[in-house]
Amino acid sequence: MTFDTLYFDIGRMDRLSYRETFVHRLDPRAKVIATILFLFTVISFPKYEIVALAPFFLYPVLLLTVGEIPVRFIIKKMIVVSPFAVFIGIFNPILDTRTAAVIFGVSLSAGWISFLSILLKFALTISAALLLIATTSFPGVCHALRRLGFPALFVSQLLFLYRYLFVLMEEAMRIVRAREMRSFGSRGTGMKVFVRLIGILFLRTMDRAERIYYAMLSRGFHGDIPSLKRSRIAFRDLAFMAITIAFLAVFRFLPITEGIGRVA
């Protein structure tokens, strides 16, 4: 992806997370915990499972629709990060060719089943992770992590990173634009220029860190980054958690999909 795409992409994600919907208003802790449980449940399915994974699409679909997140945007982002899983997974049908099933006369090898299983798990886990941040502001996620016991120092790193991500990306973009304007065709994108660009960006970052430190001192900073508690767990958060857990448990342990198929 080009720099600009990445930049606008992350900006769009960030803006989505500040919307006001039912999902956005849920307590970040509830969403973080629900997401983690969801991910665990999905990857706990064995290698050749595909059928029982189907109901789990309900979770991302509900977040997507109730949270009013554009489907295409999420799908695009999923495709962008898919190469590694696909690349590793595609070896399964090549290497594991034992016939595992004959469905409507077509024989299916075990490799294809396990590959399909990887793809389904990929779609479920990635969409759940993306939807967490699309429906929860990043500072919200950080406060949730802090209150779930992550070290304060680490959480303050995340918050600084988030705050200056956009500022530094803009700075990097200006530097890249300047490079592109003066490098005709391929010249100017080699190692030397690249290192120089990163070096300049680094020096500017250092100067900025110094100014930020000064600004912090001016407002009484003495080693701790204080923050106020912001949210309280409300009834709807507990309800959301309870329903999610029940949903995960039911579809993890009961062969419902199959049952539906048999009845039909």
Binding site: I88, G89, V102
Partner: protein, 346 residues
């Protein structure tokens, strides 16, 4: 290369998370003891710097393809191992959240692969002893190259091990290693050149800068070789213990990988300890799908196609797939329903 959730088993994912959290907790504790206030904004902003720098592409000479900065090594050199590990962890966390690069369960693996090795192994064991106090640019290039290559080889090898131990991929060990290591050799060379280039550039443009950061790094936070080794052994023991515990409770992943790695075929099913208890429960309830301990007597196909391995539930595939299609159809309907309902609201 980032590890992905879909290739992970819960056992491996959890183990690496435990390791990463342990190292992260240790690093923040160490830092907190004697941190200079100045480091707090500096670390955060440098995280944003790595993030932004990664978005600038470089054309790899002679190939026409492009690469970018990883950052673990450069952070370790500038900030020291403890701070660098935390910064790297925060960079990867933001990537996992905003780009879903890898995923959230695989994040533990990714922080380990891309943060632990450069910061806590390569930096104290290779970079620091070899570079000493030298500011010689040639030496910086040579040592950075060596360090970056070592860090990335370790990281790549970890990806291989994590994937194999998870047992979702069919790739045999040898082929996988042959696939990953050379790619990461190339990536390591670039990482090394960029790391050295930036360090040398900063040393020539603002020689005092790196020293002033080094002064802000608390002296107590430098790591001794001995400590690294001890920590590593302890972690290895914990990891091994956790893995074998998971292996006994969750046979699906490890069994397979042991077979792949050793080529000996399936181990005898262990019928003792927790595994046996679990199996007993399964037999009574037949709840766990995929294992199907209560054979479906009414399914004739089962006998001929049942593979030698557990996990393929073939007997139910037709009804299963019909069910899956119906379920997915319902989910789509629910989604479309909510969307159109919302649309009318707006």
């Amino acid at each position: 290369m980032h590890m992905a959730d879909a290739l992970l088993s819960p056992a491996v994912g959890t183990t690496l998370w435990v390791g990463t959290v342990a190292v992260g907790g240790y690093a923040s504790k160490k830092l907190k003891e004697r941190i200079d206030d100045r480091m707090i904004p500096l670390m955060g902003v440098l995280g944003a710097f790595i993030f932004a720098a990664q978005m600038i592409n470089i054309t790899i000479p002679g190939t026409g393809s492009s690469g970018h900065l990883g950052g673990g090594m450069i952070l370790a050199i500038i900030l020291g191992p403890h701070a660098a590990f935390l910064v790297m962890a925060s960079v990867l966390t933001v990537q996992a959240l905003f780009f879903a690069d890898g995923g959230l369960l695989a994040l533990g693996c990714n922080i380990w692969n891309l943060g632990f090795y450069p910061c806590f192994l390569v930096y104290p064991l290779i970079y620091k002893p070899l570079i000493g106090d030298s500011h010689n640019s040639g030496r910086i290039i040579a040592v950075s190259l060596l360090s970056a290559i070592a860090a990335l080889q370790l990281g790549a090898f970890s990806v291989v091990m994590e994937t194999l131990l998870s047992g979702k991929s069919e790739l045999p060990f040898g082929a996988f290693v042959l696939l990953m290591q050379p790619i990461h050799l190339a990536i390591g060379v670039i990482e090394g050149f960029v790391t050295a280039g930036v360090i040398n550039y900063v040393l020539s443009a603002r020689p005092e800068l790196l020293e002033s950061i080094a002064a802000s790094r608390s002296h107590g936070a430098e790591i001794s070789l001995r400590k690294v080794m001890i920590t590593f052994v302890v972690l290895a023991v914990i990891t091994g213990g956790a893995l074998s515990w998971f292996a006994s409770t969750h046979p699906d992943g490890l069994e397979w990988s042991i077979e792949k790695v050793t080529g000996k075929g399936e181990l005898q099913e262990a019928e003792h300890g927790i595994a046996r208890v679990l199996k007993g429960i399964q037999k009574k309830t037949a709840f766990l799908p995929g294992y199907n301990f209560k054979p479906e007597g009414n399914d004739p196909k089962k006998a001929e196609t049942a593979p030698a391995r557990p996990g393929i539930e073939v007997g139910t595939s037709v009804s299963g797939i019909v069910g899956a299609v119906i379920v997915l159809g319902m989910i789509v309907l629910i989604g479309v329903g909510i969307r159109s309902f919302r649309g009318r609201d707006a």
